[in-house]
Symmetry: C2
Amino acid sequence: MITVYGMHASGNCYKVRLLLEMLGRHYEWVEVDVLGGATRTDEFLARNPLGKVPVIELSDGRCLPESNAILCFLAEGSHLWSVEAFDRAQALRWMFFEQYSHEPYIAVARFIKRFLPAGHARTAELPQLHARGMMALSVMERHLAAQDFFCREFGVADIALYAYTHRADEGGFDLGPYPAIRSWLARVEDQPGYVEQQT
Amino acid sequence: MITVYGMHASGNCYKVRLLLEMLGRHYEWVEVDVLGGATRTDEFLARNPLGKVPVIELSDGRCLPESNAILCFLAEGSHLWSVEAFDRAQALRWMFFEQYSHEPYIAVARFIKRFLPAGHARTAELPQLHARGMMALSVMERHLAAQDFFCREFGVADIALYAYTHRADEGGFDLGPYPAIRSWLARVEDQPGYVEQQT
């Protein structure tokens, strides 16, 4: 049995839940009160010294943080994680793109607009976040204009990029000019086991 | 034969060279004039639509960007990339940490201090970069106080984290208060095939 420590409103945590549902795996979800400081306790920091969700805990007590590392681990042996080295590397390439060039702009803009009070000092970051986020969306759009999924078949890279892209509007991004991305979002939502993000 | 498109002054590119040297692999290095705009040509953007180095090109023309994805691909089948799923996941966990919580602060501070003219507007970013970078170094210090390498054995995660940590001083970080990190740097430098970063 896998235990997931997560927060439903977090896209990084939703990635893990979406994969587990698509794989039909049993798991226990522990909702963590991040904003209330629950990731700063000694008990939590022993699971992840960065004090962030998601973290998974295996039945033997071993823990693993970092959403995209969790996806690779949980998908091992399934149809969502290729056995071919170059295909795996391409999936990793898109997952590193997600964490370096996408999430820091698209997820952070969503955090500022959705979770901080209107007029918060961090709203000053939004113009730059939008500019950088649109660069990431443009790269995705060009790639998806030529193929159905990020790699040859649907898999972990799509799940990683779906999480914050499908909620990009909450950060002030308009997906209207990105038809290939919108078609891809619909293809992800057609996958067996797909579940919506809660909250 | 592998072709590496890189820039010697870049830590992300050095990761790839260091791994190839440690593996004793033959490769061709193509030095790319990034600051001169060579990553913005159509020819280069066909290799990596993000216009960034490093990128590797295989003999059949397939290309792979993202330094840490390249490490995983090149290390496949070697002693530097475990065959055990949980060990691989832990290595990935540290590589995602490197790209999300380490490189954006420690490498960017180095870029500003080393490559931009003194008094450049971006020097205003340095206090925040130093604060966040020291958080990453603290997490590394605590981890390395208890074990020799990031995973059970020396491997790709160590190479990924070594690249910018060993040059952190160029970004204004003092590694004096991090003895476990300094010991680990020396252990990395003792590995067979180790080569220094050029420039």
